[in-house]
């Protein structure tokens, strides 16, 4: 089979072969399942992502008042995702949310765009540098993009949320993968990731507890319209046996999310009598009801002699 294909290519040349093998329906905004025929691994990852649930999420259906808040809809079923540009709402396959063609098919070239230069008989392909830049996500994730720019990080959105998960063929259908070389395969489940002890530092000084986001180059939590939260529970233990609990909820809508490298302060009453401070931070993702622990530590006061 491989020899036959190679022979055919030799005889008619790549461009001719492209015309022979091209599948017109792939250039007419097909459902994502069509893409899974050749890119099953990427497709499977995507079905686990929030992009996959962007339209059908019960939370979104409720918040958009049964899809009648029209200004919310384009980012949940975009027609075409372009760098730094707010997308338009597409008509077809809206239940697929942010689907394969929304991100990869460009009307201007009628080709599939991506970060690699590849020869792909079923559809024309174009290498497009915008796919490795954070601006690609900025059309919808505008607030997060602004926060990231202010953080001046060298990491892009893709560095963390589309990590390399394998070095393999991006086409996994026989025999077509034989025509390709292996490439870095990026995570299409777009994990939301969870801050941990490495990313959050807590200090007690000058009568204040300071919580600092030292590891995530955007606000924590971050969102454009959803409302994820951090729950900060501070239990102050005093030398005289008394205790005091202080609670905070940090969220984008309250404007008090943890900005990268900017301390968030909580005043501790009677700081001179403090024996220790138990700090517990939990998060709740916008689409979940449950809280998950991200940080727990007892902070001891530093006594100067």
């Amino acid at each position: 089979m491989k020899l036959l294909l190679l022979g055919f290519l030799f005889l008619v040349g790549c461009e001719k072969a492209q015309e022979v093998f091209v599948r017109e329906e792939l250039l007419n905004r097909p459902p994502s399942e069509s893409c899974s025929e050749c890119h099953s691994r990427i497709y499977d990852d995507w079905t686990k992502s929030r992009h996959f649930f962007a339209w059908v999420s019960e939370n979104f259906r409720k918040e958009s008042e049964n899809y009648t808040k029209l200004k919310c809809l384009p980012c949940h079923a975009p027609l075409q995702v372009d760098e730094l540009k707010k997308p338009e709402l597409r008509r077809e396959h809206r239940s697929e949310g942010v689907n394969c063609v929304a991100c990869h098919f460009k009307e201007e070239t009628r080709a599939m765009h991506g970060p690699y230069d590849v020869w792909s008989p079923p559809h024309p392909s174009r290498r497009d540098e915008s796919y490795v830049r954070a601006g690609f996500c900025a059309g919808c994730h505008r607030e997060t993009y602004k926060e990231w720019r202010e953080a001046r990080s060298e990491k892009s959105c893709q560095s963390c949320h589309m990590r390399v998960v394998d070095y393999t063929w991006i086409v996994d259908k026989f025999p077509f993968f034989l025509l390709h070389s292996r490439k870095a395969l990026h995570d299409h489940s777009f994990p939301s990731l969870k801050a941990g002890k490495r990313d959050i530092k807590v200090f007690f000084r000058d009568g204040k507890l300071e919580i600092v986001n030292v590891g995530i180059p955007h606000n924590v939590p971050t969102a454009d319209q959803g409302n994820p939260r951090l729950y900060v529970s501070v239990r102050v233990l005093y030398e005289d046996g008394k205790e005091r609990e202080i609670r905070r909820v940090l969220s984008p809508s309250s404007g008090n999310a943890l900005v990268y490298l900017r301390p968030y302060s909580i005043r501790i009453p009677n700081p001179e009598g403090v024996k220790g401070i138990e700090v517990r931070i939990e998060r709740r993702l916008a689409w979940k009801r449950v809280r998950e622990k991200v940080y727990e530590e007892v902070i001891l006061p530093v006594r100067t002699p």
């Binding site: 049964n66 009648t68 909820v249 809508s253």
Partner: protein, 276 residues
């Protein structure tokens, strides 16, 4: 031209006159099919605009003596008027379908007196319906249903319905004021802390409808944010500057008025219409 001028002035008569008394009734259930969230667009309102535009089309073209154009607008008007008369069965008696059909004849015959008479009759049907229903429909479909809005209280860490959250916010603000007034600094710090956290969380409810940052900024201004920040800062001082904090609390209250002036009365009326 004199009669055309009369037609020009006639539309003014179609305005709603309430006669010093307003009686509001809950809009019929059948209307809800034509407004979000059941319908994607406010279809009924769009039909109202279409009829109003068609009437303007008739008037403008007759004034210019373009009777063919006027006839097209009259036909447009009749089509929409008939359609709307079927949309809400409970309101069918408001419609003067015979008069609307005669309006077409009058325009076709270039009979200005007839046009004036029929437009007056049709205009009256509009204003009668508006007098009875326009305000309650606006309250129902233009203003948000705060019954569906909930806020997670940053102090108790639980979802509160909007009324409960507003009461909690208001209670912590009043408690701060009371403790400051009677010189109880520790009580003021505790109540003040709750007030500051809740005052920040209030923006969460605005975001349910106002999705653009600029809109939120117009309600919870930068001044509001700075004021809340300053209150928080002053509550951390060893000796509380009581008068300054009290004055800042009043300043933060400006944002309460901004929102209440727009939303409170419609929200109360809506509750009343729903028998709550």
């Amino acid at each position: 031209m004199r009669k055309a001028g009369y037609i020009l002035g006639l539309l003014g008569l179609a305005g709603t006159v309430l006669g010093g008394e307003v009686v509001l009734r809950k809009p019929p259930e059948s209307l809800s099919r034509f407004y979000p969230p059941i319908s994607e667009r406010p279809v009924f309102l769009e039909k109202m605009h279409a009829m109003s535009t068609a009437l303007s089309g008739i008037r403008l073209n007759i004034n210019e003596e373009r009777w063919d154009n006027a006839l097209r607008w009259a036909e447009d008007f009749l089509r929409t008027y008939e359609e709307v008369s079927r949309m809400v069965p409970e309101w069918k008696d408001y419609f003067k379908l015979g008069e609307a059909r005669k309006l077409i004849d009058a325009v076709r015959d270039k009979d200005i007196d007839g046009v004036v008479e029929r437009m007056k009759a049709v205009g009256r049907s509009c204003s009668e319906c508006h007098a009875d229903n326009e305000i309650s429909v606006k309250i129902y479909y233009r203003f948000p249903d705060f019954g569906k809005v909930s806020v997670e209280d940053p102090i108790e860490w639980r979802e509160m319905d909007y009324g409960e959250f507003m009461r909690a916010l208001s209670s912590s603000m009043k408690a701060l004021y009371v403790f400051l007034s009677q010189g109880d600094d520790e009580g003021a710090r505790e109540a003040g802390d709750a007030f500051v956290q809740r005052a920040r969380a209030v923006g969460e409810s605005c975001k349910k409808c106002h999705t653009r940052r600029e809109e939120i900024r117009a309600i919870l201004s930068e001044d509001y944010e700075r004021t809340i920040e300053r209150i928080e800062e002053l509550l951390g001082k060893d000796k509380l500057p009581r008068d300054e904090i009290k004055s800042l609390v009043n300043r933060a209250g400006v944002s309460c008025w901004v929102c209440h002036n727009v939303h409170l009365i419609p929200a109360r009326l809506r509750s009343a219409l729903e028998g709550k």
